[in-house]
Assembly symmetry: C2
Homo-oligomer: 105 residues x 2
Amino acid sequence: MLHYPVWFDLKPGVEEASGLGTVREFLASLTQTEEANAFRLLRNTGERPRTPLPRYHALVEFTDQAALDIAMKAQATRGIFHGFHGAVVDVVSNFHVEIFDALDS
Amino acid sequence: MLHYPVWFDLKPGVEEASGLGTVREFLASLTQTEEANAFRLLRNTGERPRTPLPRYHALVEFTDQAALDIAMKAQATRGIFHGFHGAVVDVVSNFHVEIFDALDS
């Protein structure tokens, strides 16, 4: 399983419930089309996060690198400034992503 | 659900399989005693991670803040330099932790 964790902030003036709703709608669309396996949306509980990363965190799971590649191509075809992804681009800032392999646990 | 993500490196000279095995043994002991709900052990796939965080990542889940408090007290009673946790302290460096609330998804 490939973990695709994303950290982000919301743009100034974006209300939290609304901004996170937009992100959730996009991520749900990816799992509904089975491009992604699962996602979780998290918020740092600290008032002043000690982390060097932005406050919000989306954990997205893909089966493997091939599945991620397919999802990336599908998104590029739809256009990153259109539809659900375009709505996310409008509300999110400081986007930071890493890719992690799940080790046996 | 409370997410307790930990980032860490292995100390110089610690072989990866051995060091991660030690971490896995500790985390498995927490889920076996039901102090933690679940865990995953991840490794950044990047050769030179772009992240400001250490290379390895353990995602640990607790039911809520009360469950985390109980687990912390239990660990303090066992002693952080003893047993499974003590073994982890011996192999891990650059320990960094945040606490995240899971938002509805």
